[in-house]
């Protein structure tokens, strides 16, 4: 277990820059999730830490040791791959103890560690079997057991759950989260699944095109997205984005047709951001239908409701603003006749249209 320090790391493949000048510190026993769409550089990043990928520039430190030039074998890292990488010719027991065998650990120690790893992953019943006959989830458990059996400095997980069936994947996610906190390994986890990231991470590192978009705890990521990409990528269903124009009374939506009234404090704050084009972002969970609000209620407006429907046990509605169709989610009781659309302004965000950055404007008024 160790602190990992990544210092201005860059990886280029020919003209393509996979990781671009990335720096990050990972605390001891922390679980950090690298999240991003495919091709964002998150796996390359992980392979650099593992020593499987040489970096073009930058250094990697484990505690106070510079490991940039070391081979994987000499870094004492453990890794679980996306696609199962068990040794098919070895039984489960031999697979788990392989890293200890490779180091020539004494027999007694091997027995003891194997026993421990098999117990925590509940693998005792399959120790004598070959990996081929096992379901994918159990195979990944074996891979995890093989990873932790040697007490690695850093545990690296490369989309370990994505090749597993949905129902079992959830099971594994729980197990993984529990064990990481129990065992306290410094862990770097790579995934494109924001649910996994939010669920497991102490901190999430959202990446795009080889760069970090935002680093933060899951709730920071959810509540204070750094920009439109972060806002879009985290949370489902995805956030609604609406072009807005300023108005003395608040904001005009949907090509000036609709006025979103804002409290006085917010209008003042809006005045200070300067002459920019703005976009409003709000999650469907924070859009509701309410009956008969007060006429001057802030955050409410009339809009055509296109459709109401249930998805699973959740109730949604589509409403129109100009040419856009937007999504809302009815959390409370069903609204009656001629309902109005209500934005929960405390959870609405304003973004700069040009840069995509979130602007520090509180739409709900004074703090």
């Amino acid at each position: 277990m160790a602190r990992v320090q990544i210092d201005q790391l860059t990886v280029r493949f020919g003209d393509f820059t996979a990781v671009d000048d990335l720096s990050l510190e990972i605390e001891d026993s922390e679980l950090v999730v690298f999240l991003g769409p495919s091709g964002c550089g998150k796996t390359t990043m992980l392979r650099c830490i593992a020593g499987l990928q040489a970096c073009t520039a930058g250094r990697i430190w484990f505690d106070h040791e510079d490991v940039t030039e070391r081979t994987s074998a000499r870094r004492n890292v453990a890794m679980v791959f996306q696609f199962v990488s068990l040794y098919p010719h070895l039984r489960v027991a031999a697979n788990i103890s392989f890293p200890l065998q490779a180091r020539g650990a004494p027999r007694a120690e091997i027995e003891e560690r194997l026993d421990w790893a098999a117990r925590i992953f509940g693998l005792q019943p399959v120790l004598r079997r070959f990996p081929a006959g096992l379901p994918p989830g159990v195979k990944q458990k074996v891979a995890l057991a093989r990873a932790v059996v040697r007490r690695p400095t850093v545990l690296l997980l490369d989309e370990p759950l994505s090749a597993i069936d949905e129902s079992f994947r959830e099971e594994m996610r729980w197990e993984l989260g529990h064990l990481q906190r129990e065992l306290g390994f410094t862990t770097v986890y790579v995934t494109h699944d924001q649910r996994e990231a939010m669920s497991l991470a102490d901190r999430v590192v959202l990446m795009r095109d080889g760069r970090i978009v935002q680093v933060g705890t899951p709730s920071e990521m959810f509540e204070q997205p750094a920009d439109e990409f972060a806002a879009f990528f985290i949370g489902s269903p995805s956030m609604n984005f609406i072009e807005v124009k300023r108005d003395p009374a608040g904001l005009r939506l949907g090509g000036n047709d609709v006025l979103l009234k804002l409290p006085a404090g917010a209008r003042a704050a809006l005045g200070e951001v300067g002459p920019r084009n703005l976009r409003l972002g709000i999650r469907p969970q924070h859009v509701a239908l309410i009956s008969d609000p007060a006429d001057d209620a802030v955050g409410t407006f009339d809009a055509p409701i296109l459709d109401r429907y249930a998805i699973g046990r959740e109730r949604y509605f589509d409403f129109a603003l100009g040419n856009d169709t937007l999504l809302g989610m009815q959390v409370g009781p069903e609204a009656g006749e001629r309902p109005k659309v209500a934005f929960d302004l405390a959870h609405a965000h304003l973004f700069d249209c040009e840069t995509g950055r979130r602007l520090p404007v509180r739409l709900a008024g004074a703090s």
Binding site: P37, S38, E166, W174, H178, S236, P237
Partner: protein, 364 residues
């Protein structure tokens, strides 16, 4: 409309389907939800005619098509990953069906329809591209366009979104759903993802081990699960399950103090007791009638959090609000409302329809 009755299929000596009965109405999406190897793909292949059924009957719009080759059935099929003919452009892939002997249209009509569907799916700009140059999401869009453009009687979709990134999957799923709402058609949609099934389907058919365990609207399935498999596959988190023993008119879960409840009738031996997570009551404070437990793991979900609770040798999961932030290792207390308990046979998994009620002696 698609009707499948008594469908059986065997590959060499391996049984794949053991009698599938299923109907998809003209305006509904039925999701075939089940784990890998449950028989989803076999069902779709038999329905399309690409595999021959060993027994059973398949009807489309009332016409028996069991013996017909796939080209005579007028169905569309979208596979999980390989859908596009690499030798053709995106446009020619979409137009492919309309140039066949069976579904031939003249080129002007083809052009009209392709551009219309391409507009709907927002792939106009991709039409002249080589399919090798398309991304995964774009390829599935083209595949769906090819299905749409022919206006078949039935759509068969085999995990069409599973190979895509989560974010892309969620977006495309909503689009498909919206498309279906504006243009109703019969769709059979196979998936192993509960979220996917719940988000897209009008009705869900729970399939496992080559059998359909239950079929119905989501609320019907939640209200009246017929089988323990339904509980295991439905919901996120899925059904809370306790191995229990029925004895002397009371239900006792292994390793838990106090009976779960009183039985209205005689139930012999071992059962599986299950509740939907929403019905389990969890508290951070000890309350009368609540049982002590420990938080095994937590799962932050943005708007709320899910917790896994360990009570003795039992584990269950539940979604709770963010007002109390549970942490791994915290103490908690829970109550299992007896009237919400479903019982299933421990061996066969079938539902035991005996009511469970609160026990006045033990419940507060």
């Amino acid at each position: 409309m698609l009707a499948i009755a008594g469908l059986e299929k065997r590959y060499r000596s391996k049984e794949a389907l053991l009698g599938i009965d299923l109907e998809v109405a003209d305006d509904e999406i039925v999701a075939l939800l089940g784990p890998t190897g449950a028989g989803k793909t076999s069902t779709l292949l038999c329905a399309s005619g690409l595999e021959r059924a060993d027994a059973g009957r398949i009807e489309i719009d009332g016409e028996d098509v069991t013996g017909l080759p796939p080209s005579h059935r007028d169905v569309a099929l979208v596979f999980e990953s390989f859908n596009l003919l690499p030798t053709l452009s995106a446009y020619d892939n979409i137009a492919f069906g309309l140039r066949s002997l069976a579904y031939r249209e003249d080129e002007r009509e083809i052009d009209r329809r392709v551009s219309m569907v391409a507009g709907t799916l927002q792939i106009d700009h991709l039409l002249r591209r080589d399919v090798e140059a398309l991304s995964g999401g774009e390829r599935q869009r083209v595949a769906i366009a090819r299905a749409l453009v022919r206006r078949p009687r039935v759509y068969l979709l085999d995990e069409p979104l599973s190979a895509l990134d989560l974010k892309l999957r969620e977006g495309l799923r909503l689009e498909l759903r919206a498309l279906h709402r504006s243009h109703p058609s019969a769709i059979l949609y196979a998936t192993h993802d509960y979220h996917g099934a719940a988000a897209i389907a009008d009705r869900i058919a729970i399939i496992d081990g080559g059998r359909i365990h239950q079929i119905g609207r989501l609320d019907e399935l939640f209200a009246d699960p017929s089988d323990v498999v339904v509980g295991a596959l439905l919901g996120s988190p899925s059904m809370v399950r306790f191995e229990a023993t029925a004895q002397d008119g009371v239900l006792v879960a292994d390793d838990l103090e106090r009976p779960l409840g009183r039985l209205a009738g005689e139930v012999p031996g071992r059962v599986m007791a299950g509740l939907w997570p929403d019905d389990v009551e969890v508290s951070a404070e000890p309350l009368p009638g609540y049982r002590p437990a420990e938080i095994y793991a937590t799962d932050f979900r943005g708007m709320d959090q899910a917790i896994q609770v360990q009570a003795g040798s039992h584990f269950f999961r539940k979604v709770v609000g963010l007002d109390v932030r549970f942490r791994q290792g915290d103490r908690c207390w829970f109550r299992l409302p007896p009237e919400r308990i479903f019982m299933f046979d421990a061996d066969t998994g079938t539902r035991i329809r005996t009511a469970v009620s609160g026990d006045p002696e033990h419940e507060g």
